[in-house]
Symmetry: C2
Subunit: 219 residues, 2 copies
């Protein structure tokens, strides 16, 4: 793909830029980040960034791409497995939890990428297309998993698109909720105990919602 001389090297400027930009974009959004700030934190002059990326949009796109690719890597096992859908579902949610918990900026960046559509000009679309493709890929695989589970009779007959949306929201939001989330929790979000508890709770929550027969007290 890109300039990749030797598959690995001591963290190139390129990767340092991506790391710094990722943290900043997650915290402040696309419009809220200045390239001067990025450059300063990397230890470069502002102009040096343009040697690595043609512009701000391109940098943002590559940051997003990298985040989603990391998540997909984590989900691959769940999608490729062939056991019961219930087990694959649990693995999918756990994989997503792990990916988001391991890399704090990921969740915010992910949700932000949904919101910041209107910020880009039409001519930026080619630059952002790969990101959209990756998102479409992973949501498609999740939908497939749910459809399969329903077909096998393992899940209730829910609206698959709505269930996908619910799962995304239930899992991703938590790791993006920041101070509000920590106020609700009464403690940190990314501590080891909190991450473990969250993984268990949200997996059981979704599992129960999909597997159980139509709720007793409900028409």
């Amino acid at each position: 793909m890109h300039t990749d001389p030797g598959t690995s090297s001591s963290p190139s400027s390129r990767e340092k830029i991506l790391d710094v930009a990722e943290a900043l974009f997650a915290a402040q959004g696309f419009a809220g980040v200045s390239l001067a700030d990025v450059a300063a934190r990397v230890g470069l002059g502002k102009s040096s960034l343009f040697h690595h990326f043609p512009g701000k949009v391109s940098l943002y796109a590559e940051v997003s791409e990298r985040v989603i690719e990391r998540i997909i890597q984590r989900l691959q096992p769940a999608f490729e497995a062939s056991g019961p859908a219930t087990e694959r579902l649990d693995r999918m949610i756990e994989g997503l939890c792990d990916a988001l918990a391991e890399h704090a900026p990921a969740a915010r960046l992910l949700l932000r990428s949904l919101f910041e559509d209107h910020l880009f000009a039409p001519e930026d679309e080619p630059t952002l297309a790969p990101v959209e493709a990756l998102v479409a890929k992973v949501t498609g695989l999740a939908a497939e998993l749910l459809r399969d589970g329903i077909a096998r009779g393992e899940f209730r007959e829910v609206s698959v698109p709505d269930a996908v949306q619910t799962v995304i929201g239930a899992v991703v939001y938590h790791y993006a909720s920041g101070e509000v989330g920590e106020k609700i929790l009464g403690g940190p979000i990314f501590s080891a105990e909190s991450v473990a508890r969250r993984r268990r709770e949200v997996t059981t929550f979704i599992h129960t919602a999909l597997v159980a027969s139509p709720a007793p007290g409900k028409a």
Copy 2:
């Protein structure tokens, strides 16, 4: 509270500004919005805005405040009712769905307000405090509802804070998901049919997750 001469009048400049700003903040985030853009869309000069609001942060805070107050109004009945917790839960989720579906910018603005913490200076905190207070109030009431349901034996013994987080994510995210969500749905988010289906699906999802006895296939 503010300048409220007569409780009602033909839409004052003030309210028009709030409406326009709300749409823009939801679409482009705090940093992505220029006051010039707001002024232009209202039909005012840029400087005229400062006659109604002392600054950008203040405008943003009031927009957010208004959105959350609208939501709380919708949730009031659910919180004040005294029937079974299962019924109050359903009413709460439906109320939240209605509030978010009725006012398209609300969900994005709400989630954005969680993300944009780091954008503000310490001296802006007093301005933003009322918003935080309202969020804390509504999440507190939701937690109370869940605790009561567990105490009555109507709900599973879940972690209440995690369940609150899950509910927020499951419900709010959907209405903020924009193009990605519409791609998953294969249709619009805010159409009447879509809104009705969503309300039913997500209410049943959460209701089932909380009410059902621990999932069969699960340890």
